[in-house]
C-alpha cells in the first residue's frame, strides 16, 4: 500500500502545481483542462462504483450530474433575482450551502430513480434508467424560468469564506481539494464491509441472497451514494464553467461517462480519473486537427470494446477478483 500512497502524493503535488506550470509555460487553458478532468473524474468514479463494482449498468447517471449542477444554477438564479425557490427557499451563492445541497438533492433523485429501477434488471434496467434521465432532461428543458433549453448563466462562481473565488487558480485548488477528499472516501468505501457486499452482489446475486443479504436494499444504497457523487461533480462543474445546461443530463452524457469508466479500466479507484483524462485529452487533441473528432473517439471506443477479451464485463470480473 505504501508505494501506492507515495504515487498519489506525487500526483497531488503535480496537480497543485498546475496553475504555476500554466503560468510558466503560458498555457493558460491548462487549468481549465485539468479542472474539467478532475470533475469528470469524480462523476465517472461515482458511476464506476455501481457499474464496475456493483455491476449495475445505469444509463441515467448524467441525470444526477445535471441535478447537482442545476441546484447550483437555480440557487444562483434566485440569489441574483432576489426571489425564493417555490416561494420559500431563498437563493444563495455560498458554496458551503450549494455543494452539500446539491449532494443531498442528487441523492434524493437517485433514491427515487433507484427505488423504481432496481426492481428490474438486465436490459429493462438499462432502458428504465435511460428513460428517467430523459425525463429529467425534458423536465428541465421545459422550465422556462430556469432558462429552458438555454440553461442558466451563473455569472459569478459561488463564494467561499476567506477565499477569492474569482481567481481561477483558487477555484482550481478548491476543486483539487474536493477531489482528493472524494478519492479517499471512495477508496474507503470500496474496501468497506458495504463495498464487499456490493462486489459480492455483482458476482453472484443468487449466492448473496442465499447468505441472507437483501440485495435490493444494498443496491439501492449504492445507487444513492453514486448519485450523490455525480451531484457533487455537477455542482463543481457549474461553478467551474459558470453555466448550467440541460445537456448535462442528456443520455449521451451518460454514454460519455461510461466511456471514461471503460477507458480507465473498471474496478479500480483511480481508473475513472485516468479515463476522464484520456477522454478529455483525446477530445481536445483530436479536436485540434479535425472537427470530426467524434469519429475518431467512436473508432477508438469500438476498438477498445471489441479487442478486450471476454468483454469489458470480463475485465471487470477479472479485476474484481484481484481485490
Amino acid at each position: 500500500m505504501r508505494k501506492e500512497n507515495i504515487g498519489l502524493v506525487v500526483l497531488l503535488l503535480l496537480l497543485i502545481a498546475v496553475p504555476f506550470i500554466a503560468e510558466m509555460t503560458g498555457q493558460l487553458s491548462l487549468i481549465r483542462l485539468v479542472g474539467q478532468i478532475l470533475i469528470f473524474g469524480i462523476a465517472a468514479s461515482s458511476l464506476n462504483f455501481i457499474l464496475g463494482y456493483g455491476g449495475m449498468i445505469s444509463f441515467g447517471h448524467a441525470a444526477f450530474f445535471g441535478v447537482g449542477g442545476y441546484v447550483v444554477g437555480v440557487m444562483y438564479h434566485h440569489f441574483d433575482q432576489g426571489t425564493a425557490f417555490l416561494g420559500i427557499i431563498p437563493g444563495t451563492d455560498q458554496m458551503l450551502v450549494t455543494l452539500p445541497l446539491a449532494i443531498v438533492v442528487a441523492g434524493l433523485a437517485a433514491a427515487l430513480v433507484g427505488a423504481l429501477s432496481l426492481r428490474t434488471s438486465g436490459v429493462q434496467f438499462i432502458m428504465i434508467t435511460l428513460a428517467f434521465a430523459q425525463m429529467f432532461f425534458f423536465l428541465v428543458v421545459s422550465l422556462k424560468t430556469y432558462g429552458g433549453e438555454d440553461g442558466i448563466m451563473v455569472r459569478r462562481t459561488n463564494d467561499l469564506p476567506f477565499l477569492n473565488m474569482r481567481d481561477k487558480a483558487t477555484l482550481y485548488w478548491v476543486i483539487v481539494c474536493v477531489t482528493a477528499v472524494y478519492f479517499l472516501a471512495m477508496r474507503r468505501l470500496v474496501h468497506s464491509s458495504f463495498g464487499a457486499i456490493i462486489a459480492g452482489i455483482r458476482q453472484n446475486e443468487r449466492r448473496m441472497a442465499a447468505l441472507g443479504i437483501s440485495t435490493y436494499r444494498y443496491k439501492l444504497v449504492a445507487f444513492v451514494l453514486s448519485g450523490m457523487g455525480a451531484g457533487l461533480a455537477g455542482a463543481l462543474m457549474v461553478n467551474f464553467l459558470r453555466f448550467a445546461s440541460p445537456d448535462m443530463m442528456h443520455w449521451t452524457r451518460s454514454g460519455e461517462l461510461m466511456i471514461m469508466v471503460i477507458l480507465g479500466g473498471v474496478g479500480t479507484v483511480i481508473g475513472p480519473f485516468i479515463g476522464a483524462a484520456a477522454l478529455v485529452a483525446l477530445e481536445t487533441n483530436i479536436a485540434r486537427w479535425t472537427e470530426h473528432w467524434h469519429l475518431y473517439i467512436g473508432l477508438i471506443l469500438l476498438v477498445v470494446v471489441l479487442a478486450t477479451k471476454g468483454g469489458i464485463l470480463g475485465l471487470i470480473r477479472k479485476v474484481g477478483g484481484r481485490k
Binding site: 464491509s193 458495504f194 481485490k323
Partner: protein, 249 residues
C-alpha cells in the same frame, strides 16, 4: 416437539403440469430427513419453494413455528434457513477464504458500514481461518474458487452453509458429480454434524441416503408416496416399483 421445518399441503403447478401435488412433510430437531425420488419427480421445484425462489400456488411452509410462505428468500435465511446448491453457486473470482469470510460477514451483519475496512474485521477472519483449518480446504485457502475441483466447491458450499449457523440445512444433491473418494468425504462431513443441525437431504445417491438418513420420504410425480425409516422404505412395494426397482435393474 415442533418440527423445525413443516410443509403442509404444498401445491405448485405450471400451467397444466402439477409439479408439487399436495406435499406435506416435516423435519424434526436433530434429524436428517432424506427426500428421494426419480428424475422429474419435482424435488428441485420443492426445494426452490422452501427456499423462497418460487411461490407455491397453495399450502404453507413453517420455519421454527413461523409462517414463511410469503417471505422472500433472504428473509428466510435470516430466520435460519441454510442451503447448498445442486450446481454450486459461489463467488468464482474470489478465494476460498474470501468466500467463507463473506458468509460469516453476512451472518454477523453490520454491513451498511461504508467507512470501515472489511479486512480488519478480526472477528470474521479469525473465525474463517479457524473453520478452514479443520478441513482439507485449508491447503487451498487462497486459491480462486474458479480453480477448485468440483468436490472442493461442494465442500466449500457446505462449509459456508454451516458457517451461517442455520436452524435447518437444505442440501440439494450434495453428492452430485462427486467421485467415490469425494463422496466419502462429504458423507463424513455430514455425519459429523448429525444431531446438531437438522437437515433435509435431497439425494439420488442411495449409499449416502442409507448412511445418513433417520427418515426417508419418497417423491414421485410431485406426490409423497411413502415416508418412514430406511427399513420401511426398503420394504415398501410401491416405492420399489417406482424407484428402487429402477436402481436394481
Amino acid at each position: 416437539m415442533t418440527p423445525v421445518l413443516e410443509i403442509l399441503n404444498l401445491v405448485k403447478s405450471f400451467g397444466g403440469l402439477v409439479a408439487t401435488d399436495h406435499v406435506s412433510l416435516d423435519v424434526r430437531p436433530g434429524e436428517i430427513h432424506a427426500l428421494i425420488g426419480p428424475n422429474g419427480a419435482g424435488k428441485s421445484t420443492l426445494i426452490n419453494q422452501i427456499c423462497g425462489e418460487l411461490q407455491p400456488n397453495s399450502g404453507t411452509i413453517h420455519l421454527a413455528g413461523r409462517d414463511v410462505t410469503r417471505l422472500p428468500a433472504s428473509a428466510r435465511v435470516a430466520l435460519g434457513l441454510g442451503r447448498t446448491f445442486q450446481i454450486t453457486s459461489l463467488l468464482e473470482d474470489w478465494s476460498v477464504r474470501q468466500n467463507l469470510g463473506l458468509a460469516i460477514q453476512a451472518r454477523e451483519g453490520g454491513n451498511m458500514r461504508i467507512f470501515d475496512r472489511v479486512t480488519r474485521r478480526a472477528d470474521i477472519w479469525d473465525e474463517a481461518d479457524a473453520l478452514l483449518r479443520e478441513t482439507p480446504l485449508s491447503a487451498r485457502f487462497d486459491h480462486r474458487v474458479a480453480d477448485l475441483a468440483h468436490g472442493e466447491k461442494k465442500q466449500l458450499e457446505l462449509l459456508m452453509a454451516m458457517a451461517m449457523q442455520p436452524r435447518i440445512l437444505l442440501l440439494d444433491e450434495p453428492m452430485a458429480g462427486l467421485g467415490h473418494a469425494e463422496s466419502q468425504m462429504m458423507i463424513e462431513a455430514l455425519q459429523s454434524s448429525r444431531g446438531q443441525i437438522p437437515m433435509l437431504l435431497v439425494e439420488h445417491d442411495m449409499e449416502a441416503v442409507f448412511a445418513l438418513a433417520d427418515r426417508i420420504s419418497v417423491l414421485v410425480y410431485g406426490r409423497v408416496i411413502a415416508s418412514g425409516t430406511a427399513e420401511d422404505i426398503r420394504a415398501n412395494a410401491e416405492v420399489r416399483e417406482a424407484y428402487l426397482g429402477e436402481e436394481d435393474a
